[in-house]
Amino acid sequence: MNPRFRRRTGLAAALASPLAFSACARERAQHQSHYSQAEIDEAMRTPTEIDFWTWVPGIEKEVALFEEAYPAVKVDIVNAGQGAAHYTKLRTALRARNGAPDVAQLEYQMIPSFAITEDLLDLRPFGAADLADAYVEFAWSQVTGTDGQIWAIPQDTGPMGMLYRDDIFEAHGIGVPATWDEFADAAGRLREADPEVYLTNLAPGQGAFFAAMLWQAGADPFAGTSGGDLRVDLAGEAATRVARYWGDLAEQGLVSVDADFNDQWYQALNKGKYATWIAPAWAPTFLESAAASTSGKWRCAPLPQWDAGSEPVSSNWGGSTSAVMSTTANPVAAAVFAQFINSDRESTETMAFEQFLYPPAKAVLEDPAFAGQELEFYGGQQVNGLFAEIGATVAPDFQWAPFQDQVYADFTETVGTAFTERTDAVAAMEAWQAAVEEYAEYQGFTVNRS
């Protein structure tokens, strides 16, 4: 053979090999489109080991319940970090096609980001559709793909409400604001009454909070996105309204703009710098430990509304699901596990009462033992019951971007920065839109604005 020719083909083969790699990366293990009950039973009797990545402390209890019900299946729990740290490792393992778990915790907003890379297993063949009615509507719609796939099973949720300092409100004669207009008015009055206290803090790096605000206002910026077609509209009427409202409050210095979930913020909560925290259903438990010194001073109320007259609307911030990775070698065991821990009565109750995860399961939400729990930290208020009522008002439709972490990063650099620097937040929404469009085009999406 001509050596020169050989060298060339060798080079071509070498250059082509990542293409080959990525071809295998996309080619997941082929799974069946339907499993009969007999097949599922058979698989669950076969000794199997599955890996479960989660950052929920104490999840061992729910896992033990599963292992009791299915003694042949052993579950290994791995805590790979929380949030971004977890997703980074998960993505790396999935890309490396080595070391990825069978089941992983995924927050709702990350589902489309892992679906677009074909890393999630559709759970319909395993009878997941039967569970639809067991969960509140908005939670189920969040785990449902654009073509009806069931990408994950809801674990917990975070309907948005408002935690407020009853003592501060009382001292300054401020009533609990029911609308955003009243809220802005209260913000002004509180600033005048006590320059040390802000009505609330608007964290400029917290895209998840801002997304919840958009959701409540009826903006659905990524609605209509499907596969490689990205629809994004961050400058529509509802979104502009939200940006103008918070931008004005920040610009006038009526709310503080401190970064959240860091030491300064915890201290500020303890020392009474913020009179409210616009926060989801998982926040009450979180606050009990983060601001322990303020016990008894807090109360909960529904989220302020845009329109005083119409039916109340809320949204969701946070909460997680259990998703099965498409790389799994044990699809049946993994799918049954994801369904079991989030639907078995005892398991969901353990999550609600021992891990303090706010449940999406109707059965637990309706349980008087859960809804009627009186929390001392909130002056004996039945906080869970209030959030259950709020949960029923969460708008069911809100679509996440197929690269939500990038969207959040762009938010911080545009709108979040405008909040910090007290510049035009509405103009920053345009910049956010442009950044998302640019990124999406670079990643090969076809971008539509409306």
């Binding site: 990525s22 790096g205 020392k271 979040g416 999406f445």
Partner: protein, 306 residues
């Protein structure tokens, strides 16, 4: 008979011995070379190769040649980041090296009482892991509940916003200064200990005092050690990552995702999933550091020769 038989045997033994000795040499080097190849050379080559592709979320993977490099060289985020670490270098390194030099000279005079204690004290910050140091300083910088802010409030003066856009680079420089002054001092001090005693004796005979000795003997003797410190500092400054990454949660809108080139590469890979482009940006940064360090060494070499 015996003599003739002995000679070829001895001749045959020698090359075998050399071979064995050579083999032993390779064996001694092997543990390093294997780890070096597996953990450094291979990943580096793979990353270089990887940077020639572009894998999209939609549309798969294609060979794009040097496109990623063309993009990196025209990407304002890369250049802003480089400008920022360049400013950081000018802000931080001269001050750090001057102080490290002064401390090393002071220790070397032997006049300082408790010189062992002082040496240890200055060096201890280097022994504190960078992560801990940054968290600690981050706490101290706190604009409202940090100790500086509390103190300023007690006295009744305004406190500078250490974590604001204007002062952030200075705040980061201060952390790095605190961490690495002791380290550089130890390098310089060790070099001073190696200066032959006769030089000092000669200086004393000539009537030179402490200042004169420091200026005319010690500092020239430190030349090559200073060059080493400088090269480490160039590399360290341009690769700035830990400190801004850990400070990001305290000021997410000030330290954006392209605050330093390394932070940008990290963000590209792990937030944006632009792994190929992240690899290209890393290589561009590596190249710039290489050129910068080399240019510095060349310049100092030439000056010392002239």
């Amino acid at each position: 008979m015996t003599a003739t038989a002995e000679a070829p045997r001895a001749a045959a033994r020698r090359p075998e011995g050399t071979r064995r000795r050579a083999l032993a040499g390779y064996l001694f080097v092997a543990p390093f070379m294997i780890v070096f190849a597996a953990m450094f050379a291979v990943p580096l080559i793979y990353a270089a190769y990887f940077s020639l592709f572009r894998e999209q979320l939609v549309g798969g993977n294609v060979f794009v040649g040097l496109d990623n490099y063309a993009r990196a060289f025209t990407d304002p985020a890369v250049w802003e980041g480089l400008g920022r670490v360049g400013a950081f270098f000018l802000l931080q390194v001269p001050a750090m090296l001057v102080v490290a030099l002064a401390l090393a000279l002071a220790l070397d005079t032997g006049l300082t009482r408790l010189s062992r204690f002082a040496r240890l004290g200055v060096f201890v910050p280097y022994a504190v892991p960078g992560v801990i140091a940054t968290l600690m300083w981050g706490f101290m910088y706190g604009p409202q509940f940090g100790p500086f802010a509390q103190l300023a409030e007690k006295i009744g003066v305004g406190v500078p916003d250490f974590l604001g856009a204007d002062l952030m680079l200075g705040s980061l420089a201060n952390i790095v200064f605190w961490e690495f002054t002791g380290y550089n001092m130890v390098i310089l001090y060790a070099a001073l200990r190696a200066v032959p005693g006769e030089l000092y004796e000669a200086a004393a005979v000539d009537g030179a005092g402490q200042w004169r000795t420091a200026w005319s003997i010690k500092i020239p003797a430190l030349r090559s050690a200073l060059v080493v410190c400088m090269v480490f500092s160039i590399i360290g400054s341009f690769q700035l990552f830990n400190e801004p990454n850990l400070m990001q949660p305290l000021a997410p809108t000030v330290i954006d995702s392209s605050y330093t080139p390394n932070l940008y590469a990290y963000h590209l890979a792990f937030t944006g999933q632009e792994y190929n482009y992240a690899a290209a940006v890393s290589f561009v940064l590596g190249l710039i550091i290489l050129v910068g360090s080399y240019a510095f060494m060349l310049a100092t070499n030439r000056r010392s020769r002239s």
